[in-house]
């Protein structure tokens, strides 16, 4: 389930990044690459586990859904920290003054 949710987040973020390009003031490119990196890795993990062990390809239950939500929250948190540190709008600089 977390693979589907991360892939969905990656597709949506990439679409928003593309619509807003060529500018990338809010580092949406970074967010989409974070989601794509995890999506690609989990895809390999799921395929190899399916080939080696069999069973269901997607784990669909409450625990897997909560993990998917947590993963998206963590990615957004990392992105927001990078955004606040780089402060492209200069909001934090203005507060300091």
């Amino acid at each position: 389930m977390w693979l589907i949710m991360t892939a969905l987040a990656a597709v949506i973020t990439t679409a928003i990044w593309y619509i807003r390009s060529p500018g990338d003031k809010y580092k949406l490119g970074l967010l989409s690459l974070i989601f794509w990196g995890a999506t690609l890795m989990w895809f390999v993990d799921h395929v190899m586990a399916y080939l080696m062990e069999g069973g269901e390809f997607f784990e669909i239950n409450l625990d897997a859904t909560l993990l998917g939500i947590s993963v998206i929250i963590l990615a957004l948190l990392v992105w927001e920290i990078v955004l606040l540190v780089s402060d492209p709008k200069g909001v934090l600089k203005r507060i300091k003054r």
Binding site: G37, V44, L67
Partner: protein
């Protein structure tokens, strides 16, 4: 168990390589970047973001499943000698496959961007954001 440590290791190496390339490009005056509008430092930056992003999110998944703990030896498989060999096997198979797959996808992206940049007239060759 600990498959994400392989892409994490690659991320460390590519981050160091990116810094070295960045410093060399600064010294050389960015001649290559002027030709295509895209520096190697920036291309490696995409790979770093893919690898670090994936590593961070996979680390959370491993914590969630109790495979990684915040106290030594950090990997729960290390507590049981019988689980060490399967853990290393998983790193050698799934971990390496993850790192190779992400790198291949990155290489395809770089190739497409490079070909498009070359096809464009020189004045227009300034690719969009792409994660900085």
């Amino acid at each position: 168990m600990a498959c994400f440590l392989v892409p994490a290791g690659e991320a460390v190496v590519t981050t160091v390589v990116q810094k070295v390339v960045e410093n060399r490009a600064k010294k050389a005056g960015g001649e290559r970047a002027k030709k295509t509008g895209l520096s190697w430092s920036r291309r490696l930056g995409w790979l770093n973001k893919l690898l670090w992003g994936g590593t961070i999110l996979l680390a959370l998944e491993h914590i969630w499943h109790g495979e990684v703990v915040p106290w030594p030896p950090f990997l729960t498989a290390m507590n049981n000698p019988a689980e060490v060999a399967p853990m290393l096997n998983e790193m050698a198979t799934i971990g390496v496959a993850m790192a190779i797959f992400v790198t291949i996808i990155w290489a395809i992206i770089v190739l497409i961007v490079e070909l498009r940049a070359k096809a464009m007239p020189q004045a227009k060759a300034s690719p969009a954001g792409g994660g900085g």
